[in-house]
Symmetry: C2
């Protein structure tokens, strides 16, 4: 029996390696030259002839132990694993030539927007300085610059229908650097904080606690970043009795999530950098918001702190404090404003219940995915595959709080999913929350994006081990170490579990092809918005 | 210079020991036989002839190193230090024979009150059981007993104008035992929780967070105890940036404070015992309060939890969870109901500001005590000395949250101060908050109650070391260890600091007798309520 499995595994590996080399990679490469189907998502599956009804090869043979993608890995050790990863053929598929409609923004449009912002700022500063002088408010005024080569502008211009940035775009390291060191000229609550106006929505029994502490910082060149301050130590674990929706937001999770997303080659998380923010000089003294100024105080230990002002909460337990002024935080690059690049927020079909006892349908109905597969927009295109990608990403970081996802309206149903707000990841290194993988385990469609699977397999190889490339990638952040070793090692363990779930899908699909066929049929029948757009 | 000091210290010690043996102890003993002035508080001071204007002996000679009260200590080591302490003459001064007006309650009155309670309970249970059956609520019904020998009854009957209980009252260990093991027949919010009706007073910037988690538990024999659940681990320290008013309430601090108060011989803290409470069986299933039932939930780790329901807070961060049902807590014996033993709550003259930047007068005016000394009720009797006792107690436990104190109205201005609500003690073992001692250091009147001083000096001796007797005393609690070693050792260090402050007062009084004289004069002038009562 064991020999059979070994034989099967070896055969599978050989076939798959051949498939990868002679069929898949040339296909991926050729796609760079004109094809619109950039991601290999769709009803491709790995059910190979002769495999139906057979026992699936054991995990140990199928994942890290076997060189499934080993034929193309560099077995030499030493040197940068991250460099090796990014120079692997899987990470060097040419980007297709982009049509104008495939870019989020046009240069002229964005420059006009930038110019308007600068002149509005100058008008505002003139009026504000006069008012501040009368009211005796001390505000530090910094010189601002209009820089048509600013990294944030280039980042915004680079956003296209495939990803937020391209793999080797030099803009991204520059943008990270800018967020790490550039002078902050103003600080304010974010738009959603302002929308709350200090009130807490208590229609639900429980409420997230991350509110009211994240801030928008504007840099000298008008780059905007969302600042999430450090709330807990690197080695603090989320208590086991905490519900995911009351867990802290972790600045280091935001940073680590950006790096992981890039390593998985999704590129759906806007760049995030760590920064030691001087909350007196870079927040209190540059804010023009009286409300924000009013939540600052000096702690008994003489540290500068600010607290979450929630109308009826008024608790300083939620305060964060500098030491005495410096406070770690994550700075996430803002996406282009909604006025020039509208996005829509869509509830995750695998949303969790935000109450104590409530259960969502997916938690009780094992055939939930069948329903979803029939429904627009999951019945066509790659939306469902993208949801599965997202669940893999969330499972790796341990994020149970993905209640919504966002897409750019411009790219319609074919747009990629933005992986925003990852601060509730990396809370418990010892727990692998398999329910996060429900979209994958319940749908099992064509495994996942084939490109995703290939990368996951690559990252399970010793030569590219996920924890190693993550550690290396995170070393570039000024707040390193970003993740503790147990969190890094958890990534490897979780990766194995994902591959195991996929393996189980192989078995299921082999035994019962109906699921896939149903899906293919379903997409063909009702004409969707996407279909209509395509047929134009 | 050093020799002079040593000589002075030795002389002082000799004189003081003689004073203690031939004057003080006989006086204390004789007081047991009829004198109303039980506590040696008043304008006695230790300023001995020849001491004025001289340098005070160094601390090391004056406190733990020198046998100030050593002549009466047993130097042999081994055996129970606590037993030795409680058999020391200072702890064996006979209690005066109590007149009927000196007891808080009369037996008949209390029995009548008890009988009424039992019959009201029986009526209520009959109605409630019927209603519960209709509404399909599961409530466990326990047999109740009317026990005229119940320990809580004896505790209530023993309360007198000097203390909550007498030194060797066998009722107290029995009451502790009852609270530790007796069947709980019902659970409810406490009266002050009910008064809040789930709303939080947000007129202040900040609010205490201990609210809404303390519960009143009723035992089978109608003993009532306040349950404060465990909120933090023994070795968790209060973060340095926390204000005292947002600190957690600690169940172990409640327990330790009761033991310390008894060791200091104040006996102003109602008995407190630790108990592992089954929050499902002993709270959820016995409560008749729908609101309380509604805050129970099962955590993601499958533990039973309940949360603080504050109308606009609705946060489960404040939840406490059992494992899966058992939760540590402190049970503090209730004092007699306000209807039969009214108390008044008086703001502490050394109250702190409950805002971020506010400062109270005592914090900025070094002559604050002079003002207080002129004011009723601090201008006569022993109230101010009691405040100083309380500040010594609070300094030892590190409690900065003594905003009010309570007294039984029956004993008028001569009543002792109740040391209720000590759960904010023992938060930081490494910090000695000297500002808590402000009443002592600012007033310096007659040092403190002479009896208090003698006991403090005794507890600084190796043969009775405070940390040792506390450790021993706390070993009797079922939740032991109650305090970590650093907290126990902090008691010794703080005791030294108290003695140092008193020593500084000796120096000050020696140099400037005016303070004491002023005080004496002031008490003579305006006729107070106390004076009027006395002259009748």
């Amino acid at each position: 029996m064991r020999r059979d499995r070994l034989f099967l595994a070896t055969t599978l590996t050989a076939i798959f390696t051949a498939d990868l080399y002679f069929i898949l990679l040339p296909k991926l490469r050729s796609m760079g030259r004109g094809s619109r189907q950039f991601c290999l998502c769709g009803p491709n599956n790995l059910t190979l002839p002769g495999q139906e009804g057979l026992a699936t090869p054991p995990l140990s043979n199928w994942t890290s132990e076997s060189p499934l993608v080993g034929a193309i890995t560099d077995p030499t050790d030493g040197g940068s694993k991250l460099d090796r990863l990014f120079s692997h053929p899987l990470y060097n598929i040419q980007t297709p030539v982009l049509g104008p409609e495939e870019r989020l923004l046009q240069a002229e449009q964005l420059m006009e927007y930038y110019r308007r912002k600068v002149s509005r700022w100058e008008r505002h500063m003139k009026l504000y300085s006069e008012a501040a002088a009368i009211s005796n408010i001390t505000v530090t005024e910094h010189e601002v610059t209009f820089d048509p080569n600013a990294s944030w502008l280039k980042f915004h211009l680079g956003i296209n229908r495939y990803a937020l940035y391209s793999r080797d775009d030099p803009t991204i390291p520059q943008l990270l650097k800018d967020m790490e060191i550039m002078t902050v000229v103003s600080a304010d609550y974010t738009q959603d904080e302002k929308a709350l106006k200090g009130s807490c929505d208590c229609t639900q029994v429980v409420k997230p606690s991350g509110h009211h502490l994240k801030l928008a910082l504007k840099m000298r060149n008008f780059a905007k970043a969302m600042f999430k301050p450090m709330r807990q130590e690197r080695d603090d674990e989320t208590p086991e009795d905490f519900f995911y929706f009351i867990d802290f937001q972790r600045h280091n999770a935001e940073i680590a999530a950006f790096h992981l997303d890039r390593i998985l080659d999704f590129r759906r998380v806007p760049p995030v950098a760590g920064r030691l923010v001087n909350i007196t000089r870079e927040v209190l003294l540059v804010t023009h918001n009286e409300d924000l100024r009013s939540v600052f105080f000096t702690s008994p230990a003489n540290n500068t702190c600010f607290f979450a002002k929630c109308l009826y909460v008024c608790k300083t337990e939620y305060a964060v404090c500098g030491g005495p002024d410096l406070l770690e935080g994550s700075l996430s690059a803002y996406l282009p404003g909604l006025s020039i690049a509208p996005r829509i927020s869509i509830p995750n079909p695998w949303i969790r219940s935000y109450t104590f006892n409530g259960r969502e349908e997916w938690e009780v109905n094992p055939f939930y995915c069948d329903t979803i597969k029939q429904m627009y927009p999951y019945n066509s295109g790659n939306r469902l595959l993208n949801i599965i990608d997202m669940s893999i990403f969330d499972f790796l970081i341990g994020n149970m709080d993905r209640h919504h996802y966002e897409i750019f309206t411009k790219f319609g149903d074919e747009g990629f999913l933005l992986h925003l707000d990852n601060a509730r990841g990396f809370g418990k290194h010892s727990q692998d929350e398999l329910s996060i993988l429900a979209p994958l385990s319940q749908c099992c469609i064509s495994f996942v994006c084939r490109s995703t699977l290939l990368r996951l397999q690559l990252l399970a190889q010793p030569g590219f081990r996920l924890s190693d490339v993550m550690r290396e990638s995170l070393e570039g952040d000024p707040l390193q170490p970003i993740l503790t070793e147990p969190h890094l090692l958890a990534l490897d363990r979780r990766l194995q579990k994902i591959l195991k779930v996929i393996q189980r899908c192989v078995r299921r699909l082999g035994e019962n092809e109906v699921i896939t066929k149903d899906f293919v049929k379903a997409t063909a029948r009702p004409q969707t918005a996407t279909d209509r757009r395509k047929s134009r």
